[in-house]
Point group: C2
Chain length 252, copies 2
């Protein structure tokens, strides 16, 4: 059947359905069976709310779903709405001067998208391969998440000091800076990576310690944007935390 | 066009689409335009992750979406997956004896579903009407959330003491007990409602104070199930918290 005939049939079916309150959705991408789509969408919600707790790989039945989610329009839409929540909060604040007003950003899946890498490893269905991922990091070619790049610039315009706090190691500072510049990020206040003394700490501990240090240095941490709960939980917390979507991996 | 012809067209379209990797979804319910569906689904995620912060009514454009979500199979599926996360955590524990192992449940939209009430007020698109809601509470006819009722029974079987902690007031104790029994709940350890001294406290403060009291009484709070972030946040927290879905209202 050619595509014109298909389109005609879809149109005819859609028109006929208006009165019977049935709607048709045409989704591009992998052919995910309905029951998998329903389950995987609920699984994704349980991941995004941290209900699922620790997990190491995405469920095998959800590979097609995650492909569809990441490469269709849902990931972009979800990212846009988180960014809108963040900027709306930022604009509601009455800020003191002096550069003490801070906003923290995580890097991977927050400022930068590693989707080109994760496409090659089944969208998180394979066990994390540190060597292969480090090679990808060294390429320094991860694109920006468009919604985050806009939020980053808008926050700078409002006068926030932007602190980038990543689980990447100091050994990756050069490639990380290069990649951030490649993706369009400029003029961050700090880029904090794991030093030797941070290796082995959980992300929650490492990032909470760093937030405590920033506060001790006089920063007021208004916002914190990250795709992992371990970016956001632990004392001290930011005044508001913003959980970006990431159905591909979980970091403790 | 009659329904047989519609079905034929859908089938023909679906078959024709297999090779071009387009999938058709037929969703029952209100005819939500695609761009609203996409936006409202992202709005819902921002609510469930607490990114949205406080909100008083659902967006006007999302009434049809929330109807579809609550009355289609998604709400049930999301509720089932949260319950599965909870019971899987509970089964992983090595519990001490003596009835000190506690699990906290919120009541509204956690054990009981007020969907029959919210259907009549636009699924949360109208400002909360306390008088009308209290009349509904007095009817004591809210059904159980099926996934929560099963979780409740399974946790009892494992030996947990179940503490029900609700923002409802002591004046509603009788109707709340009656409703819980009507819905199939039995043998809770405690049912805690707001006393006079709790009126005016935010839910986070009121519920955190109660959790602190339970701990002082010797309970170990392993799990906490609630549809509001104000059920779950604040010190002390349970070892694991489980956020049930609720796109209809937000309680501070």
């Amino acid at each position: 059947m050619d595509h014109y005939l298909l389109l005609f049939l879809l149109l005819a079916a859609a028109l006929s359905s208006a009165s019977s309150r049935i709607i048709l959705r045409i989704l591009p991408g992998a052919g995910v069976p309905s029951e998998d789509y329903l389950y995987c969408d609920s699984w994704r919600l349980s991941v995004e709310t941290n209900n699922a707790g620790f997990w190491d790989t995405i469920p095998a039945r959800c590979v097609g779903f995650v492909d569809l989610y990441m490469n269709g329009d849902r990931y972009d839409s979800d990212s846009q709405v988180v960014a809108a929540d963040a900027i709306s909060f930022a604009r509601s604040l009455r800020l003191a001067g002096g550069g003490v007003n801070a906003w923290i950003f995580d890097v991977d899946e927050t400022l930068l998208s590693n989707l080109p890498y994760y496409k090659g490893v089944g969208f998180g269905s394979e066990i994390f391969n540190e060597t292969a991922f480090d090679e990808w990091v060294d390429l320094a070619q991860a694109p920006a998440l468009p919604a985050s790049l806009k939020l980053y610039k808008d926050l700078q315009q409002l006068g926030f000091s932007l602190i980038l706090l990543t689980g990447r190691s100091e050994a990756q500072r050069n490639s990380t800076e290069k990649n951030l510049l490649f993706a369009g990020y400029r003029n961050w206040e700090r880029l904090i990576l794991r030093e030797a003394s941070d290796i082995g700490k959980s992300a929650v501990i490492y990032k909470s310690e760093k937030r405590a240090q920033f506060e001790a240095q006089g920063f007021r941490i208004y916002g914190n944007s990250g795709d992992q709960w371990s970016d956001l939980l632990g004392a001290p917390v930011a005044k508001r935390s913003f959980k970006l979507p990431n159905p591909m991996y979980y970091i403790l």
